[in-house]
C-alpha cells in the first residue's frame, strides 16, 4: 500500500507529558474569541457594563476600610487605608478569580469539551486573560486614587519596584491557574473539591494580607514565630511586593518572594501535568 501520511494520531493511554503545545499555538484566535465571549457575555444586559469590574472592588474596599481599618483597627500604617485595601483587593481578586474560574474548566465546559477537540489548555489561558482585562480596569481605577493621594501628599511612596509589576501579575495568574487546574482535574472525579473552592478561597484571603496590614501586627511582623509560616503562603510575598512598589508601605522579603516563585512554578507544573492527564478521558467521568 502507498505511503500514507497521517496528520493526527490518537493513541491509547494517557501520558501526562503528552501536551499539545503545537496545537495551542494555532488556537490564538480561539483564545481571543473565548476571552471576548467571557467578557461580552458577563456584561451583556447590564446597564453599567464593565463598570461592574470597578464597583465590586470599590465596595469591598469601602467595607474593609470601615470595618477592618477603622472599627477593628487592623488598617495600614503610613498610608491611607482606602488605597491600602484597594491595592490588596485587586491583586487578590486577580489571583482568586484565576483560581476559581480555572477550577470550573472541565465541569463547567463539559458541553463544549465533550463535543469538539481543541487543546484544553486554551480554556484556562483564556480565563486568565479575561481576568487580566478586569484587573487592568481595576488597576486604572487604583491609579486614579493614587494620583489623588499623591497630590494631597498622603504618604504614598511609589518606587522603582513598580517595574516588577508584570512579574507579580504573571506570577499570580500562573499560581491561580495552577491551583485551578489541579482542582479542575480532581473535580472531574471528586466533586467534593468544588465545594471547597468557594469558601476555601475566602478563607485563604484571611490568611493573606488583604484585609489587614501584617506589618502593623506584632504577631505577624518579621521575626515573629508565625511570620515564617505565614510567609510561605505564596500570595503573601506577592501582595507585599505590589504594595511596597506602589504605596511604599511594608517590607519586601526577597527570600520569601523567591520561595513563592518556586511554589508557583511547582504548582503550575503539577497543575499542567494533572490537567493534561485528565483532559483525555475526563469526559468519561465528569
Amino acid at each position: 500500500m502507498a505511503q500514507q501520511n497521517w496528520t493526527t494520531i490518537v493513541k491509547s493511554g494517557n501520558s501526562a507529558f503528552d501536551m499539545d503545545i503545537k496545537g495551542l499555538a494555532k488556537c490564538k484566535d480561539l483564545i481571543l474569541l473565548l476571552v471576548r465571549r467571557t467578557f461580552v457575555a458577563k456584561y451583556k444586559q447590564t446597564v453599567l457594563g464593565p463598570a461592574w469590574a470597578v464597583i465590586q472592588p470599590f465596595f469591598t474596599t469601602v467595607v474593609y476600610s470601615v470595618f477592618f481599618g477603622n472599627i477593628a483597627g487592623l488598617g495600614a500604617t503610613g498610608v491611607p487605608n482606602f488605597i491600602f485595601y484597594l491595592s490588596g483587593t485587586i491583586v487578590w481578586t486577580l489571583f482568586a478569580h484565576c483560581l476559581t474560574e480555572t477550577s470550573h474548566t472541565f465541569t463547567g465546559n463539559a458541553g463544549i469539551l465533550g463535543k469538539v477537540y481543541f487543546p484544553r489548555l486554551v480554556m484556562p489561558i483564556s480565563t486568565a486573560i479575561s481576568q487580566y482585562i478586569a484587573f487592568f480596569i481595576q488597576f486604572a481605577f487604583m491609579l486614579c486614587f493614587m494620583a489623588y493621594y499623591l497630590i494631597t501628599d498622603a504618604g504614598l511612596a511609589p518606587n522603582l519596584l513598580i517595574l516588577m509589576t508584570p512579574v507579580i501579575l504573571i506570577q499570580l495568574a500562573v499560581l491561580g491557574m495552577g491551583f485551578g487546574m489541579i482542582i479542575s482535574s480532581l473535580t472531574t472525579k471528586y466533586r467534593d473539591l468544588a465545594m471547597v473552592v468557594g469558601f476555601g478561597v475566602s478563607l485563604w484571603s484571611y490568611c493573606s494580607p488583604v484585609a489587614y496590614d501584617m506589618f502593623s501586627r506584632s504577631q505577624l511582623a518579621p521575626g515573629s514565630a508565625i511570620y515564617y509560616i505565614y510567609m510561605l503562603n505564596p500570595v503573601t510575598p506577592a501582595i507585599n511586593l505590589f504594595r511596597n512598589a506602589y504605596l511604599g508601605c511594608g517590607e519586601v522579603d526577597w527570600l520569601f518572594y523567591g520561595i513563592s516563585w518556586v511554589t508557583t512554578i511547582a504548582v503550575a507544573f503539577i497543575g499542567a501535568l494533572m490537567f493534561s492527564k485528565s483532559e483525555k478521558t475526563f469526559m468519561d467521568t465528569v
Binding site: R36, A41, K189
Partner: protein, 423 residues
C-alpha cells in the same frame, strides 16, 4: 489504492460501570487503602464482587476500519452499539483504552448542534466563536461569513443574541458554520434530526456537495435511514462494540433493520412470533403462505395470491383485517383494508390477492392486524404481527422504466387517470 482519511486500528474503549470511584475523595481513599491491605472494601455494597470483571463495559471491542478520502460513510447500529463512542474517539473528545486511530486532515465534529453557542452572544459573535472552536482562524471565518449567514437563512437576526433564537434557527446557524469549514473530515451525529424539512433537504444537498465536489470525507451517524440512504456510499454496522458488517448502504440498512432474513421463504409461520403488546390475542394469526410462487422475490406488477390462517377463540365476534406495508427502513408505505373475515371457533383461513403494481420495486415487510371497531369508533385489537417479507423486482419489460428513483417514495398511486371525452 486510494488515499485514506481515517484508519481505526484495533480500537477498544472500556467504561467502568456504576458510580465511578467512591464518588467522594474519602470513599476512594478508603477503598484504595482496603485494597492495599487486602481487606474487604468498606464501600462495596452487600453482594457486590470485589472489582470483578463484570464492572467493566466494553463500548468498543477491537474495532478496525479504514475510510478513504472523499468518501461518505455511514455508521449504523442500535442504541449502545458504540456509534457515538467511535465518533468521540475520532474527534478526540476522549481517548481509546486500546488501539490507535490515524487521521489525515483537520476534523470538524457536529456531534450535537449548537456546540459552543453562547446564549448571550449575538449570532454574528457566535459564528466566529463556533468557527474558532471548530478550528477555523478568524481570517477564514471572515472570508466565509456571508456564505454562512446566507445558507443559514437567519441573516435578519444575525445581530440578535442567540438566546432569543428558536431551536430551529440555532440548528440552522450551527449547521451552516460547521458545513462551511475547510476541514478535510466531517463528523456528523444526528445533526439533521431538527430543523424543518426544507432545511433538512438543503443540508443533505450541501453535504453531498461537500463530499462530491470538495472531496471531503464525511462520517455520518443517524437513525434516519432515508438520509443515510441518500448520503452514504458505504456503511459500517456496529453491534455491541463490534463491526458486524461493512459494505453497501442498502445491505447495511437491511442488516441494521434486522431484515437480513429476506430469504426465499413463501411460508411464514407466525404462531410463535412477537406480538404487538396491545393485542388481546383472542384471534391469533398462525401463518401466511404465498401461493403460485416459489420464492418471495416477486416481479413488479404481478398479482400474487396468498392465504392466511388464524385461530379464533370464538365465533361470536366480528373480525376485520388490515395490513400495513413497510419499506425497508421501517417507514410505512400504506395501509390495506382487507374487510371482514368470516370465521368459526378454531382454525380459519382466507385467500387474498396482493397486487404489487402499487409498490415501487424494493424490499417490504407486511404487518397484519386483526381488529374490530364498534359504532363509537373504539378499536379492539386482536392481533398484530409481521406476517410477510417480500422483495419486489422489476425487469424492463414489466415497466417501461429503467430506473426507479429513491426519492419517488415507495408507493405507486393509482389515483390519477386521464379523462377522455367522447367526441
Amino acid at each position: 489504492m486510494k488515499e485514506l482519511a481515517i484508519r481505526v486500528e484495533n480500537v477498544s474503549k472500556e467504561y467502568r460501570l456504576g458510580a465511578i470511584g467512591g464518588a467522594t475523595l474519602k470513599g476512594e481513599i478508603q477503598s484504595k487503602l482496603a485494597r492495599l491491605r487486602k481487606k474487604e472494601d468498606p464501600n462495596l455494597k452487600i453482594g457486590e464482587k470485589v472489582h470483578g470483571k463484570n464492572e467493566r463495559f466494553l463500548a468498543l471491542d477491537d474495532l478496525s476500519f479504514d475510510v478513504e478520502k472523499g468518501e461518505t460513510i455511514g455508521i449504523l447500529g442500535h442504541n449502545g452499539a458504540g456509534k457515538s463512542t467511535i465518533l468521540k474517539l475520532i474527534c478526540r473528545v476522549t481517548a481509546p483504552t486500546k488501539g490507535n486511530i490515524y487521521m489525515n486532515g483537520r476534523i470538524t465534529s457536529m456531534l450535537e448542534v449548537g456546540t459552543g453557542f453562547h446564549p448571550e452572544l449575538t449570532g454574528r459573535e457566535n459564528v466566529y466563536l463556533n468557527g474558532a472552536i471548530l478550528g477555523m482562524t478568524k481570517a477564514e471565518i471572515d472570508k466565509k461569513f456571508d456564505e454562512i449567514v446566507e445558507f443559514s437563512e437567519v441573516g435578519q437576526f444575525i445581530d440578535t443574541p442567540v438566546k432569543r433564537y428558536s431551536s430551529g434557527m440555532k440548528v440552522k446557524l450551527a449547521f451552516s458554520v460547521a458545513s462551511h469549514l475547510d476541514s478535510e473530515i466531517m463528523i456528523m451525529d444526528e445533526v439533521l434530526a431538527v430543523g424543518d424539512v426544507n432545511f433538512q433537504n438543503k443540508c443533505i444537498a450541501r453535504m453531498k456537495q461537500v463530499a462530491e465536489k470538495e472531496g471531503r470525507t464525511i462520517l455520518y451517524v443517524s437513525h434516519n435511514m432515508a438520509t443515510v440512504k441518500s448520503l452514504c456510499s458505504r456503511c459500517i454496522v456496529l453491534s455491541a462494540g463490534k463491526k458486524i458488517f461493512e459494505g453497501s448502504t442498502e445491505e447495511a440498512i437491511a442488516i441494521y433493520m434486522k431484515n437480513d432474513e429476506f430469504d426465499n421463504a413463501t411460508f411464514f409461520d407466525t404462531s410463535e412470533a412477537k406480538r404487538h403488546p396491545k393485542c388481546n390475542k383472542r384471534h391469533l394469526l398462525q401463518n401466511l403462505q404465498l401461493l403460485e410462487t416459489e420464492t418471495n422475490k416477486i416481479e413488479y406488477g404481478k398479482k400474487v395470491p396468498f392465504r392466511i390462517c388464524w385461530n379464533s377463540e370464538n365465533d361470536s365476534e366480528r373480525l376485520r383485517m388490515k395490513m400495513v406495508v413497510n419499506g425497508i427502513d421501517a417507514t410505512p408505505v400504506g395501509v390495506v383494508f382487507g374487510g371482514d373475515l368470516a370465521h368459526k371457533k378454531g382454525m380459519n383461513s382466507a385467500d387474498y390477492l396482493l397486487d404489487t403494481s402499487y409498490f415501487v420495486p424494493g424490499k417490504y415487510t407486511v404487518d397484519m392486524i386483526l381488529y374490530d371497531e364498534d359504532d363509537a369508533g373504539n378499536v379492539m385489537f386482536y392481533d398484530r404481527t409481521t406476517v410477510l417479507r417480500f422483495t419486489l423486482e422489476h425487469s424492463d419489460e414489466s415497466v417501461k422504466l429503467k430506473h426507479w428513483f429513491k426519492d419517488w417514495g415507495n408507493a405507486v398511486l393509482p389515483c390519477v387517470t386521464k379523462i377522455t371525452e367522447d367526441k
